[in-house]
Symmetry: C2
Subunit: 134 residues, 2 copies
DNA sequence: ATAAAATAATACACAAAGGTATTAATAAAT
DNA sequence: ATTTATTAATACCTTTGTGTATTATTTTAT
């Protein structure tokens, strides 16, 4: 029941940028704050800006800016982006094949638990994670 | 929100053995039925028998037998065995560090979803997955 | 213009998970 | 005893996620 480290990194970076006071963050700023491996972080930032979630400007006064409305970016979006869409579209527990060959024997409880998780992922936005709001 | 492929394999093998009619399964039987890569399956079976969930006997009439009461083997046990105990003991979403540095900003909804999942994993036994029971 | 400070791109290195190949050991059937 | 069918053990290969190194590009300050 895990997401990849990269997904974790992405969420931490984005929440930091979406919630924090500052608007402009350099890669080094984020490194100091989050201690995500420097070079890896750089690449992640480039990917996130390609995806349009943040925007990077180069040069001496450059850095990254959060480029969306925090209330409109859901965790599901981020997961889909980093891990690929199929991740959450699989059988309960994330299995690609159902357990008891052919018939899915998962009970209503399971379906409910899964739906609840997905519901949370699609309704939880970066903005809603802000502890200073509540 | 995935478990490893190996965990998936383990659960499929064990449910098959716990629920099925036959008692003795050779590695080839299980391969035919489940199409899990042959050699990898062999190794998994060896691991599962070392853990005491199944018992293997060698020789011409050999094979593997399910060695426990299906009603007493939980999914959590299997996951812990294959992936290690920490897997489920991490922050919500499986993250090792909380999202907004220091304060866990996850709402009660999240905790509830996690608890529900864990509850299901500890209460769902192999026996309870049997579609012929209900 | 030149230097400095930042991102961008590309290629390489490492480790773990997944999967394969080979050989050894065991036990029953003949 | 020999053959056959099985598990057991070990070592290797492949893929993917993670992390590093190097170099190029852009922009501003001086």
């Amino acid at each position: 029941m895990n997401f990849s480290k990269t997904t974790e990194y992405a969420i931490r970076v984005l929440t930091t940028m979406a919630i924090g006071e500052e608007k402009l963050y350099t890669a080094d700023d984020l490194y100091e704050k989050l201690k995500i491996p420097k070079r890896y972080l750089r690449r992640l930032l480039t990917d996130l800006s390609k995806a349009g979630l943040i925007a990077g400007t180069r040069g001496r006064t450059g850095g990254f800016v959060f480029a969306k409305d925090p209330d409109k970016v859901t965790l599901k979006e981020i997961i889909d982006l980093v891990e690929g869409k199929e991740t959450l579209n699989r059988c309960i527990l994330g299995f690609s094949a159902c357990v008891a060959d052919g018939h899915c024997t998962m009970h209503a409880d399971w379906i409910q638990a899964k739906v609840q998780m997905e519901e949370l992922l699609t309704t939880t936005t970066l903005g809603s994670l802000n502890p200073n709001r509540k």
